[in-house]
Subunit: 194 residues, 4 copies
Amino acid sequence: MPQNDTERALRSDARRNRDHILDVAERHFIEHGVTGSLNEIAKGAGVGPGTLYRHFPSRDDLLAALLTARDEKIGAQRAAITSTVSNPGEALAQWLAALVDWAGAFDGLPEPLRAAISETNSPLSSTCEGYITSTDEFLSQAKREGVARRDVRARDLFLLALAVSWARGAAMADDASAHAMSDVLRHGWTPAAQ
Amino acid sequence: MPQNDTERALRSDARRNRDHILDVAERHFIEHGVTGSLNEIAKGAGVGPGTLYRHFPSRDDLLAALLTARDEKIGAQRAAITSTVSNPGEALAQWLAALVDWAGAFDGLPEPLRAAISETNSPLSSTCEGYITSTDEFLSQAKREGVARRDVRARDLFLLALAVSWARGAAMADDASAHAMSDVLRHGWTPAAQ
Amino acid sequence: MPQNDTERALRSDARRNRDHILDVAERHFIEHGVTGSLNEIAKGAGVGPGTLYRHFPSRDDLLAALLTARDEKIGAQRAAITSTVSNPGEALAQWLAALVDWAGAFDGLPEPLRAAISETNSPLSSTCEGYITSTDEFLSQAKREGVARRDVRARDLFLLALAVSWARGAAMADDASAHAMSDVLRHGWTPAAQ
Amino acid sequence: MPQNDTERALRSDARRNRDHILDVAERHFIEHGVTGSLNEIAKGAGVGPGTLYRHFPSRDDLLAALLTARDEKIGAQRAAITSTVSNPGEALAQWLAALVDWAGAFDGLPEPLRAAISETNSPLSSTCEGYITSTDEFLSQAKREGVARRDVRARDLFLLALAVSWARGAAMADDASAHAMSDVLRHGWTPAAQ
DNA sequence: CATGAATGAGTATTCATTCAT
DNA sequence: GATGAATGAATACTCATTCAT
């Protein structure tokens, strides 16, 4: 029986399907936020909901895959910061700004990310842990140089970056606010020279 | 003594109903978060959905009423801070902490509050505006005394308080994080003595 | 006891209330069609739904009262036709046109009118019967003069007038159609000279 | 023989479901009119509301499907008229009578049909358009033979057929009226020999 | 592996009507 | 006689998830 052929075809089809689903899902999440209908995504990708479900058993799996695809981008940012920014304080600041942007990729993305921090079962957990680790590297370096407070923890900074991203999420359209909040994150609302 | 009760009821059995609905809604929101079923609340209060709808045309109306009922509490806090805390920086810090607690009354509450900031039509809008004004009073005083940065705006601080409250949400149960985030909000992650 | 005074006041209030309700209901029906919410009308008139219900136990009672108020207008039309149009065929045609307009006063009005013809219990029944009688007068005269077919009945003509009004009801915006249908009603779709 | 049945089911259990829904819907609409509850139909068919919704996204879709199933019947009537009635006037008359019957299949059916004429988006629109076209064919032929007035339009005749069907509705149960109205439609209320 | 039909609980919302005040 | 609070059945519609084909 020529199943060999069939199986190969299926595998390549599956791969193509998976990638296509991701493309469609990304567009859908950008347009409708992360709570958009999964069935709608399946329909948009030309597959049945069962196929979507097979590839991504939950919404978080889909999100995790989408974020993994973006790993490269923020990874490049991290490398660029590491290699070009000598001031560790500035480096941490830029990294946190990158995180805020990253979590703002889709409307409502901060929510499942926050949830994933507390639930080790979520497919987004490892994603978050990875970025918490990165944050810790920048933070540790900053602490060593004395430009970050010793009592600040990487996990909290990551969570705050999500929070700032969440706060931005509103139909704010106010760039000033966005910057101001990141600024408060860095310096607090107390004056630098006090 | 019983007549007193009766007279109140005579004036309006609706009053009793309304209060009862609010009680039930409060319990429901505490247990199931602000997205809990309104019909369930009506059922729990022993009234038809129409009655709930008559008193509170939208979920936000219900939330606004619930928060108004708590006005007294946070108002008292504000008064206490004003009268007992002489340091304006500390006063602002305590006020923001009170706000974070306030927005954490129900799971998911920060979300509609954030939305209400951008929509002038929401019944929660005036609630938010009131607290933004209070924040501005504390902030202005702090600026006058030079213990708050001049480029920080009350609206952004309020939004950040919501964001911290949001970040606290879920099964965080980590008090250290909660305090740490409020602390970062005040001082940033940079050392005080720089 | 000064109930005499009170009763007089109530009566005059009631009268004013009734008239005011009718005014508001007319506006409401014109804007929202005859299926518009009765409670909304009560609210608009500044009375409780119970008051509306007391004056007009059913929607049809309200419609009947509204149509009675218009009796004068169509009555005047009838008188004018009778006194100025000598040709009985033309008179019947004009009367039917007046009926079509009358039944088109509110969106959806033909529906309860049609129902009222078959139900003797409806408050609209007597209204309809009255106009059927008027139609019969015009029709009989036309028959006597040989300008109306003997096998046509007044009730059917009235019903057809309602039907034409119903057909117009759609967002037609097509005056030609409106006239054409009335014309078919008079002459049929067969040529006059055949 | 049972396999035949099974194979059909294999090809699509949905087919059986769809047909069953249509059967139930037809009975329901006949008994309760076209405004009957869709959920009730779903329940009656033993399917969830989602299944009904999947097959027929809107009430009009369901009606359109039901009418399509009757296409055959009225199509046969049209063919019979065309082939057996040589007099084009009589042919048009019979076709219009067939339309009146068709639109009277369910209580309240004329209403959505009328609405569909003005809305190009309705699933019933194409159905209506088709029958307007058929009407035009009969009408044009009649005009060519001089037995229909040249200023009568097919769309208006179709609408009038709906109107007559509408007028027949409710508990009329008066066959004489029904015939009379169709007759007026053809000849008007003026005598043939004038 | 893919399909997509089916599920069916769940939610918000409306409104004529009643009746205690 | 007036009020208006309460009723509560009823309806349309959604969507994650399953599973027979």
